[in-house]
Symmetry: C2
Subunit: 283 residues, 2 copies
Amino acid sequence: MKVHVIGIGLIGGSMVLDIKSLHPDATIYGIDTNESHLAEAITLGVIDKVGTFDDLAEADFVIVSVPVDVALTLMPKVLDAIGDNTIVFEVGSTKIPICEAVANHQRRRNFIATHPIAGTEFSGPSAAIKNLFQGKTNIICEVEKTTFKLQEKALDLFRSLGMRIRYMDPKSHDKHIAYVSHLSHISSFMLGKTVINKEKDEQDIFDMAGSGFESTVRLAKSSPAMWTPIFKQNKKQVVKSLEEYISNLTLFKELLANDDFDAIFNEMQSVNKIKEILNGMKK
Amino acid sequence: MKVHVIGIGLIGGSMVLDIKSLHPDATIYGIDTNESHLAEAITLGVIDKVGTFDDLAEADFVIVSVPVDVALTLMPKVLDAIGDNTIVFEVGSTKIPICEAVANHQRRRNFIATHPIAGTEFSGPSAAIKNLFQGKTNIICEVEKTTFKLQEKALDLFRSLGMRIRYMDPKSHDKHIAYVSHLSHISSFMLGKTVINKEKDEQDIFDMAGSGFESTVRLAKSSPAMWTPIFKQNKKQVVKSLEEYISNLTLFKELLANDDFDAIFNEMQSVNKIKEILNGMKK
């Protein structure tokens, strides 16, 4: 089995680590514009060798895990280069633009649009870890546009990595994901900014911040190069989610300013049910 | 050694679990208005027996870990009941009001104001865990107002639980903690609210939310009964921190709406240094 990963970071790297464990005979080829990432990926055993676009004609799987803006121009070139039995998927956090970018490509049926809901705040080959996808959801868009035989091949792979599959149209995906993922990143970055701006002495943050602060600003460690194009591509939905978030914060601030502490209590209590929703996530 | 804990939850309960490990001969007395919490605390081995205010005259340590509004009326009564060699401390997340409440009490010198920066989002006796305070900061306010001999006794205890000590005046404490703790809780509650309001179908949250969302809304599981009086007591600073947070979010939204993605990138990159600050926290 020949597996190519284009963009060797957290998602692509973790995926091929698991594929190699499940299929020790597989050869993992890596393609990356960053030469030092290629060398690092070989040293870490994330990939077996450096690949080229010429090799893609022989590939069984091609995993494209690059920033979502890069994917739009790269994907048609990848589809140009693959063979008839190659299945290509990408793993970006927006789905409308990539589905549009390949809509009229003659090899559209060799492509499957996916979003594995998995990750950490780290990036690059050293961020690749085993079992990242165990028990996680993989959202698949426009599955009907992929050749049935190649659908099956991809789905078998995703299931073997431990993923649950959920089908969704690109528009619904991009709308929902703005709320449950993109907004979290902005809330975290801006919380970090507010605290850093206030506390000019970082020692104060260090001394006074507990695990609660650490948890809420964890995503502020994320890569701006990865997240800027996501926010750009999903701008409309992200702006909308931000407006609703700001409006909820403003209401809370006003309740506080007006000493309406019964309402403050009720606001918090009604959100407490997130506990059960998150517990559901762990099932 | 006789240790009394008034309010047997996450902080008080975890503290006496560690004290009992370090001093197996100590007797841990629990006082709580919630009868079922008392029974649960005995079953769980968090306390040895139920205590009364009459016993406080014989106590070595009294730990008051109740909601911050309750502490204001309770603390003078505790100080009325203790003996000359008893040291009393409370562990609330605001420090100005409690220091004012005891300022003129004849037993002020038996009291030490502390804020151990430790916790989880859980509450009640079952939330008590061992080693919660290992490597954490304990902020102590107005240390000079406590009898030196009793200061030493308290500090020895805190160090034996693994805590680093930092001294701070109540005003600075309340100002800084609004940013690095209180604001995180509101950002988390309102993020949870925004997502719950949008996603009427909780299955969608369940399916699409990853570890990032889980991390940013973790604090929205916190107890409204504990947090409402904290926000009330620290209202001025919390409102100020919220205004700055809302202003930063609004700026980010405008940059996005105006397609200024270079600025979006720079905003995120400048907050990325939170990584090093948080790494510092783990030392």
